[in-house]
Symmetry: C2
């Protein structure tokens, strides 16, 4: 096989030394043209895994403010990196100029703004940032620009939506339950927890009121409420409590009973409730010896270093999704589908489970868009991705090929 | 009997209007001359109660930085008050110039320094500040000035020492146990606690390593360790854990087993351990968004308002002191004395129990000194006060007259 003699010739086409060069350069250009270009905004735990997974099939650029986060992607994987403050709209626009598709893996506080800023660039976006705003308030803007914006495209929110979107098209769903958690294998008192994604977004789960649906009505409960103990094979007992995880499903689904709960090792919920009650999660400034300070920032300074996974520390993701309803075939009989995920840290590639389960759901969506398999325009929460049988199977296969397996039990 | 002729006549001795006036003024002056003058430094929860209790039999001056704290003493009780920063040695010296006896009721962080500063003034001192330093390091200074300085003269430390001092002179004590707590009657999640004395000193109990004596050896354990559940009649179950309460007893007593534990409603110890572990009790500065701040100061800003007793809120003091040993009369038989205190908030005078139990022990010591019943010079921890039978009975009677009753069970 013929291979290239000269690399990218930056000095221009002054003297190409042989015909062979011209030929291979043409092939390379063709490959480059075929390869879609993806810019991944945010190269944290999950963004980094997304960049690595897309790298190869796509021409990937990873952008982040942190030199540290980018270094490994560049050095170990040869991924193109750009450093800059992605909170600055001009920098944001400049780093995605070459992209065909944009992946948003920024902290939740930056996600909505990023989509708003980049919409006029008319590039499809897949976002996993878990932003607090209602994405549908951007729908007009997105539709006007004729692009696809998939939001919440991780494991939870994400895969739960995809699975429910699939079943909802095929049966009259009466009940949806999602239990999900990302936990360290090693339990260390008192938190028995490590932040497997942006730690400020972890705290959001402890303070943002949780919305669920009961008997057709939206119910709002405080976060960390209604704890219940559940058994998981090979893991033991975990504690589930209300967190605001249904998000778009409340709008897009007309199912009388829906709930999402977060899983943690039993007991630590109590400590979190105490911290919240004490005011340590508050964004309201307090005066401390004449200095105005937000308690949440003090908590960030104290706890985030403790909540950081140590190098090589193992985590796992556990998820149980229950969809009940009537499939129209068995009369009044209730059909129950239970999807179970138990995924572990990947030693070989040093990729944490939360990055795998969240990131590979996101990369599946990138593939669907790049291949023209998902073409719906506007704001598209993941439940839309799951509606089509082929797309649904593609996502499951994509995940399974990476060792992330959802096991279905139906009865 | 004929006494002095004119009282302090501020307008001068121009025209004394009648013999009757001259006569009564003379009696008044006599009374004033007989009355000893006490300056109470610190007019907080406990200091205020001390000032009120001494007022009448003594000529009392209450000094504090807080106008609020002094207002009630002046308005409702006619006690002379002086406002000033008692952390300033010059102000400290000036406010005690008229005093015969000084009472120290400042926060623990100010107690040692206060004694050091005021020693050259050659006035006897009774202190309840619970300062962290070893008082005996001041002994030379105190002896040189020929004065009596009673330290730790509250309920705990204080009454435990007095009781042990009493028994230690009368039997070979082999074991000393002190369980003590000051708690709100109303239990409110999560703390089920109100700071019945200086809240920063409350936190000291949660972080200062606890020293106790086991088999003749001093043992150091972290605060909040070794929780045990105990039943109290009329109260229910309380949780006891190691706190650094033995203090001078470790030096002054040669008893092979001694321990002091603090009592709280069960469970809250766990939350305190979590806060400590998280770093919220730390005095080490952390950088929060470019500002250096001590987490303990943030905790003070957040929790101290929550730990403040509401007006009229009821507290109680519970204490159980167990002294075991051989009294020399029954051969090898172990004699056990158990002293129990259960004191409640006083509605009539709106005086919290902790102020009663701590403050009236302190005022008993003031009386002993004023009456010449306790004349030992140097640093005198309360165990010295209890050695003499008459003094011991005086203290118990003084407390009982104020409704603070220690019940003895011996077997």
């Amino acid at each position: 096989v013929l291979r290239a003699v000269c690399g990218r010739n930056r000095v221009g086409a002054v003297d190409c030394k042989s015909n062979i060069f011209i030929f291979t350069a043409a092939i390379k250009k063709e490959q480059r043209m075929q390869k879609k270009r993806v810019t991944v905004l945010g190269a944290g735990l999950v963004g980094g895994a997304i960049a690595r997974d897309l790298h190869g099939e796509f021409e990937v650029t990873a952008a982040d403010m942190s030199h540290e986060a980018l270094r490994r992607l560049k050095r170990d994987h040869g991924i193109k990196t750009v450093r800059g403050d992605l909170g600055d709209p001009r920098i944001l626009s400049s780093v995605i100029q070459d992209a065909d598709i944009i992946v948003g893996a920024l902290p939740g506080s930056m996600g909505y703004k990023m989509i708003e800023v980049l919409a006029p660039e008319k590039k499809d976006i897949v976002d996993i940032s878990f932003f607090p705003e209602d994405p549908f308030t951007l729908n007009k803007l997105i539709e006007k620009n004729g692009i696809t914006v998939v939001t919440d495209c991780g494991v939870a929110p994400g895969m739960g939506n995809i699975i429910l979107g699939y079943h909802n098209r095929r049966m009259a769903v009466s009940k949806y339950r999602c239990y999900v958690g990302g936990l360290p294998v090693l339990r260390e008192w008192p938190w028995e927890y490590k932040a497997v994604f942006s730690p400020i977004d972890v705290i959001e789960e402890y303070i943002r009121p949780a919305r669920y649906v009961e008997n057709g009505h939206t119910v709002v409960r405080e976060a960390l409420s209604d704890p219940e103990l559940l058994q998981f094979e090979g893991i033991g007992t975990l504690e589930a409590w209300n967190s605001d995880g249904l998000r778009t499903l409340i709008k897009t689904m007309h199912i009388p009973d829906m709930i999402e709960k977060t899983l943690r090792y039993p007991g630590c919920i109590e400590y979190l409730r105490v911290l919240r009650e004490a005011g340590y999660f508050s964004y309201d400034e307090v005066s401390v010896k004449g200095v105005k300070i937000r308690p949440i920032d003090v908590t960030a300074a104290l706890l985030f270093p403790k909540w950081k996974l140590k190098p090589g520390e193992e985590d796992f993701t556990i998820m149980k999704i229950i969809v009940e309803g009537n499939n129209g075939k068995g009369g009044e009989r209730v059909v129950r589908h239970e999807w179970d995920l138990y995924d572990r840290y990947d030693k070989e590639t040093d990729t944490i489970s939360m990055a795998r389960t969240t990131g590979y759901t996101c990369t599946a969506a990138v593939h669907l868009i790049a291949r023209g398999m998902f073409t719906r325009k506007g704001i598209c929460p993941p439940e839309y991705l799951g509606e089509d049988e082929d797309n649904f199977r593609f996502i499951l296969d994509h995940l399974k090929a990476r060792g992330v397996e959802y096991r279905l039990t139906s009865d």
